[in-house]
């Protein structure tokens, strides 16, 4: 019955240690999940008596809601178009930094800076950059003759989503860089020296040695990028509020719109359930199939 190395401290101790975490977990995670599932079957404004409507919310969502379709399309665009550039740029910067440049800490701080600035601030600043009337890009466009810079980035339904994605890449590349710097620091120096002695070129060293050895960092960044895709709210809310005409709509923004602007708590709950199911399915896929893990853990 003895438990090998575990301190014997009475059988209650572990339960007391996990009690506060468990209480919070049940109150703010387990209960809310059950709650949204339940309220997604009602038509409900959040104040008056709710009416049970069964699957009506889901039927409307999947068959009669173009804004929902746009929100899904945008998530499908958002994931690869943010994750890949952030990884490649982040890796390139980290590799250049780690293989020796003067004043490494300063560069590192500059690239990481956007990641710590509040997305609300980022949204307002970039609105001014994209502003077609005297904004930074349009002024550069007029001064240099590069007319494509003068388009109204945030109010053109075809361009807006890419403009928002670009801001996300600007904000989060430094975070990728930071994880790659940590990953590169953890690589065994012997392997890199062996590659050098064998006469591997820079390209060969990166493609065949360094990049494959950082697999756990890539997987972490993909995992975090997918989660990020599904929860981005303030950036879109501040830059476009999902507009023009839902062209930059995201699931979080749409939940907020339905729940707190249109007072459709039941409908918002149905969107929330869809969002949770997508998030869990994608995460399970990555963990099971790709073997993704958080590099920070284990």
């Amino acid at each position: 019955m003895s438990m090998s190395s575990a301190p014997r401290s009475g059988s209650l101790a572990p339960y007391l240690f996990v009690l506060p975490a468990t209480v919070l977990f049940v109150a703010y995670v387990v209960y809310p999940i059950l709650y949204v599932i339940c309220s997604s079957a009602y038509r409900w404004d959040g104040i008056n008596q709710a009416t049970f409507t069964g699957l009506a919310n889901y039927i409307r969502l999947f068959t009669h809601d173009p804004a929902f379709v746009l929100a899904i399309r945008n998530a499908v665009l958002w994931a690869p178009l943010t994750i890949l550039p952030q990884m490649l740029l982040g890796f390139a910067i980290a590799y250049m930094l780690e293989t020796g440049v003067p004043r490494q800490a300063i560069y590192q701080a500059i690239f990481y800076l956007p990641a710590i600035i509040s997305p609300v601030v980022v949204g307002i600043v970039w609105q001014r950059i994209y502003n077609p009337f005297g904004g930074l890009l349009s002024d550069i466009g007029f001064a240099s003759g590069l007319r494509f810079l003068t388009v109204p980035f945030l109010s053109d339904t075809k361009v807006a989503i890419y403009a928002v994605i670009a801001v996300n890449v600007w904000q989060w590349t430094g975070f990728s860089m930071l994880l790659y710097v940590a990953g590169l620091k953890g690589l065994p120096t012997e392997t890199l020296e062996a590659a050098k002695i064998e006469g591997a070129t820079l390209r060969q060293t990166i493609v065949y040695v360094v990049w494959p050895m950082l697999r756990h960092v890539h997987l972490t960044l993909i995992l975090l990028g997918v989660i990020g895709t599904l929860q981005t709210f303030p950036l879109i809310y501040m830059l476009t509020n999902g507009g023009p005409n839902h062209a930059t709509e995201s699931l979080p923004n749409y939940i907020f719109l339905q729940a707190f602007k249109l007072q459709s708590m039941g409908y918002a709950s149905a969107i929330s359930v869809v969002l949770m199911v997508i998030a869990l399915a994608l995460s399970l896929f990555q963990v099971r199939v790709l073997g993704a893990r958080f590099a920070l853990a284990e």
Binding site: Y28, Y31, Y35, F111, P119, W170, A182, L202, F256
Partner: protein, 276 residues
């Protein structure tokens, strides 16, 4: 002998150009904030200012009680950071060192929470706060921030605790130290790299959190710093100077905390990242 520049020079040049581009939005924010009053909109989004003046900051301080909002943010953030550190490290210690019924299930349950998008929970958390009378109170934000920060912190602490050799704890045990005493006096002091990672992450996420704050806080006097641009967007509509001065003032505290903690950050990350 050759005239080709060294790889080091090329790298420095590439990085400098990239870093300059990366800095433009931040520089523009500062430029607009420092624009002298009465100056007609400067070109290039405000980057090309003529002269520098602090008057926008004075206006911002005058009209927007930035300090009050900053204190609100600090109360909410620091309380949740302290709670997350204590609650997560206690739980992680049980997960790392004790075996108990339901332990594994609970740990994987917490792990799955990491994948949960917070916006999917705003409707129920809003209703929960309403039921318990926590709408428009600090606790209405502190409790969910803590609950949602615990899973990440538990993972960091658990992997760190597992790497600590157990001899010290066993010796303390023989000397009659309680499990709680071991956690408090031996394990926690040894775990500062893990604590610094947890503190930075929890500080940044709580300080910058937006969607829950937006639906929970109603009174301007309780609102944290992240909501400030929304409160003053109306009054400052025609005055980009004070608006951008406000944005700058919001950004300074996070940058200060980051610069103070930067060296712990990479250290903590590499300490926590054992081969994948």
């Amino acid at each position: 002998m050759t005239l080709t520049p060294s790889p080091r020079t090329i790298k420095t040049a590439v990085l400098t150009v990239l870093a300059a581009v990366w800095l433009v939005p931040v520089l523009m924010m500062l430029a607009v904030a420092l624009m002298p009053p009465g100056q007609r909109a400067a070109g290039f989004g405000g980057l090309a200012i003529k002269g520098v003046s602090l008057s926008s900051f004075v206006t911002a301080f005058d009209r927007a009680p930035i300090l009050m909002h900053f204190v609100n943010s600090l109360i909410i953030t620091i309380t949740s950071v302290v709670l997350v550190v204590v609650i997560s490290s206690l739980a992680a210690y049980a997960f790392a060192r004790m075996r108990f019924r339901g332990g594994e299930g609970l740990f994987y349950g917490l792990l799955a929470t990491l994948m949960l998008p917070i916006p999917a929970l705003i409707v129920p958390i809003f209703q929960l706060n309403k039921t318990f009378g926590l709408l428009d109170t600090y606790w209405g934000l502190i409790l969910p921030y803590t609950a949602l920060g615990v899973p990440f912190a538990v993972i960091i602490y658990r992997s760190f605790f597992s790497a600590i050799p157990q001899e010290l704890e066993e010796a303390a045990k023989i000397d009659g130290c309680s499990t709680f005493g071991i956690w408090l006096r031996i394990v926690m002091p040894l775990s500062w790299p893990a604590t610094s990672v947890v503190v930075i992450f929890q500080f940044m996420t709580s300080f910058n959190e937006f969607i829950l704050a937006l639906v929970t806080m109603d009174s301007n006097s309780l609102k944290p710093l992240t909501l400030v641009p929304l409160i003053y967007a109306g009054p400052f509509m025609a005055q980009p100077g004070p608006m951008f001065a406000t944005l700058t003032l919001i950004t300074i505290p996070v940058v200060a905390v980051y610069l103070l903690m930067q060296r712990f950050m990479i250290g903590g990350l590499t300490a926590g990242a054992v081969k994948g």
